[in-house]
């Protein structure tokens, strides 16, 4: 399955790994912030209704 990367394996894997890590980090951060903000807003809105 794994393609033969030859002597450049480190470079290619490193590039893919780092990039995916960064993208995942950004996506994770965005989602986390979105979820948290949504929850806090809901809290406050419900408090307001009472």
């Amino acid at each position: 399955m794994m393609p033969e990367l030859g002597k450049y394996a480190g470079a290619v894997l490193g590039a893919y790994g780092l990039s995916l890590l960064l993208i995942a980090g950004l996506v994770g951060l965005s989602v986390w912030q979105a979820v948290r903000m949504h929850a806090r807003l809901r809290d406050v809105e419900e408090r307001g209704k009472e």
Partner: protein
């Protein structure tokens, strides 16, 4: 909010699809280049992220202009939301480029014009984000960052020419879609297009998501202020 809420899952899904297919195709199913060996595979990350990084700034510029002219609040928040995505893409392009440069040019970094202007773009993003964070009042922050974005764009173009004047570099010339045949065979081209689409959609999805978060944040602040006064 509603519109963006309806679109978001689709955009995100499409982005994920394009990315997964494009990257898997690029990574597993393309042959090595006769000159560059396996390192060509980096192109599927490098070029799309560079593209998105540049266009991210354009998006910010347009959003800032809309805010300054029409005072449309959401567009200011779009600009704010786009900046972190843009800077991440810049970092990805820089890093993959650097990793690619090591086998190709024998150095991680060279002061080639394209690389240099990319580094300057990174600094612009950094300054822009820092300014957003430094200012308390959201309206003031939106106004000032918009002014910065516009002046910055002018100077970014100036620097581009300055850098070109200063050094003729190592980096590949532009070989985007128009004359692709001359530069790149289809084997690389199709997955590359897919990846570019994927990165664009990812950018769109993230900006939408982050804008929604920013809108909620503003709403939350407004509500908290109201409570405090009541």
């Amino acid at each position: 909010m509603q519109v963006s809420g309806r679109f978001l899952p689709w955009v995100a899904g499409l982005a994920a699809l394009c990315l997964v297919v494009g990257l898997i195709w690029g990574f597993f199913l393309t042959p090595d280049d006769y000159r560059q060996g396996a390192t060509v595979k980096i192109i599927f990350l490098h070029v799309p992220s560079a593209l998105v990084a540049i266009n991210g700034w354009m998006v910010m510029l347009v959003a800032s202009l809309i805010w300054l002219i029409r005072r449309h609040h959401v567009s200011a928040l779009v600009a704010k939301a786009a900046a972190p995505v843009g800077i991440t893409m810049t970092v990805i392009a820089l890093m993959t480029g650097a990793i690619w440069g090591q086998p190709m040019w024998g150095t991680w970094w060279a002061w080639d014009p394209r690389l240099t202007s990319f580094l300057i773009l990174f600094m612009f993003y950094l300054g822009y984000i820092a300014l957003w964070q430094a200012i308390e009042d959201p309206d003031t922050a939106a106004d000032l960052t918009s002014v910065l974005c516009m002046v910055g764009s002018v100077f970014a173009i100036l620097s581009r020419y300055a850098v070109l004047f200063w050094n003729q570099g190592l980096h590949q010339g532009a070989s985007l879609s128009m004359d692709k045949q001359q530069h790149m065979s289809d084997t690389y081209w199709y997955p590359l297009v897919l990846c570019m689409a994927g990165f664009m959609l990812l950018f769109l999805a993230l900006v939408l998501l982050r804008t929604r978060t920013e809108v909620r944040r503003r709403r939350l602040q407004a509500l908290i202020l109201r409570e405090r006064m009541a």
